[in-house]
Amino acid sequence: MSEEFKVEIVNPEKSFFSQEDVKEAIVPAFEGEMGILRDHISIISFLKPGIITIHSKSGEEKFFVEDGIVEFKNNNLSILTSSIFNLKDIDKNKVQDLIKTTEEEVNKSEISDQVRFLSDQKIDVLKSIN
């Protein structure tokens, strides 16, 4: 029996990434990292800032996401997100910029606890990339 399923990552402008022979996908779901294998139960969840890791026959791909929704159904994993980078393409300066703007946002007083939590998370993840 095959152990593969399909992953599709779409952002509002285009279909960002699509692969048929994925063995395992690890997504930063809202309540913790979630590993998805073939024949996972249908699930909808949303993402917090983190790294999506996709293991396939041809290798491993890593993406940084800020938010989004994951939907898994009939061995199709769809990830909808508005902000995503492939870790291969992102350069250090850009990461630094992102950290800086996020830190500025955290330092503003009027943000809600949830936003602060998510921003802190984002900074942690971004720092771990560097």
Binding site: N11, E13, E31, S42, I44, S45, I69, K73
Partner: protein, 291 residues
């Protein structure tokens, strides 16, 4: 009767206008292709988003406590209309069609005695609406500086709308835009985005049972604001494809009309030149006869 020189000048000026309209048509055709591709590429996102929301709203257990973005405020006193037009003119009936549709809606609302608020996106719509509805326009947004339609612009509009909704500045939000059908036809659309209309898309609903993490309500309240931005982005993509399509056909017509005009003017020019020659000949002949 215009002199030969005048006619010559007019022909030259019409010809140069024709050159411009022809160039604009070419540019619009190239841009249209790109806009159409963008619209197509953006489709999976909004479709998937829509599907998930439909599934979720079906499964919501407690209708009373459903997020306000879905169920509405319970009133329909204040209507917010987001009129999306282009930033540039010379595109035929494109902007006029949206404005016409929007104005019809405005009249209907005021007749029902409800309050009206307007946000204009794109400067052409603002120019046309501010004369009559100037006091109703609460916000004007223009994306003249951004070259392509991008999601960040849509998100800006979406966030603005949500912020106003949270402050309960309005009850119902409708967006006006042109839907792209083909190069010649664009259909002006009025789409209600708050509260979300889930009724008329029954056929797309799937029967799957999902596991939710965290629960439905929380996902839904996270998702709905994103959906607003997505809907606006979709409208912007449709609009930009429609704009280029409308401009292309308008410029095509203009080029053709200019061609006809040049033909007509050339005939007139030739005729008056012939008349001048004949006149001169008659003068010479009658001069010779009188000798």
């Amino acid at each position: 009767m215009p002199s030969l020189d005048d006619l010559k000048k007019r022909i030259a000026s019409v010809k140069s206008t024709q050159k411009i309209t022809k160039a604009m048509k070419m540019v619009a055709a190239a841009k249209l292709k790109r806009a159409q591709e963008n619209a197509e590429r953006g489709r999976p996102y909004s479709e998937k988003m829509n599907n998930i929301i439909l599934n979720l709203s079906d499964g919501i257990s407690d209708k009373e406590n459903a997020p306000k973005l879905l169920s509405g405020t319970g009133n329909d006193k204040v209507h917010l209309c987001v009129v999306m037009t282009s930033d540039r003119g010379l595109c035929g009936g494109f902007n006029a069609n949206i404005i016409k549709k929007a104005k019809a809606y405005f009249t209907k609302i005021s007749e029902e005695g409800k309050e009206l608020k307007i946000i204009t996106v794109g400067s052409k719509g603002n120019d046309q609406l501010k004369r009559v509805y100037g006091d109703k326009i609460i916000e004007h947004i223009s994306f003249k500086t951004s070259k392509n339609t991008n999601y960040f612009d849509a998100e800006k509009v979406g966030k603005l709308i949500i912020k106003k909704f949270e402050k309960i500045e309005f009850d119902i939000c409708t967006i006006f835009y042109n839907q792209f059908k083909n190069v010649i036809t664009q259909i002006p659309q009025a789409q209600q985005i708050i509260p979300l209309n889930t009724e008329n898309e029954n056929d797309k609903r799937s029967e799957d049972n999902y596991e939710f993490e965290p629960d439905e309500d929380e996902i839904l309240s996270n998702l709905l604001p994103k959906n607003i931005s997505t809907q606006i982005f979709k409208a912007m993509l449709e609009n930009s494809a429609s704009e280029q399509g409308a401009r292309m056909s308008a410029m095509d017509n203009a080029t053709r009309n200019a061609g006809e005009m040049v033909d007509k003017l050339t005939i007139e020019y030739n005729r008056s030149r012939q008349a001048a020659i004949t006149k001169e000949l008659i003068e010479i002949i009658s001069g010779a006869e009188s000798l």
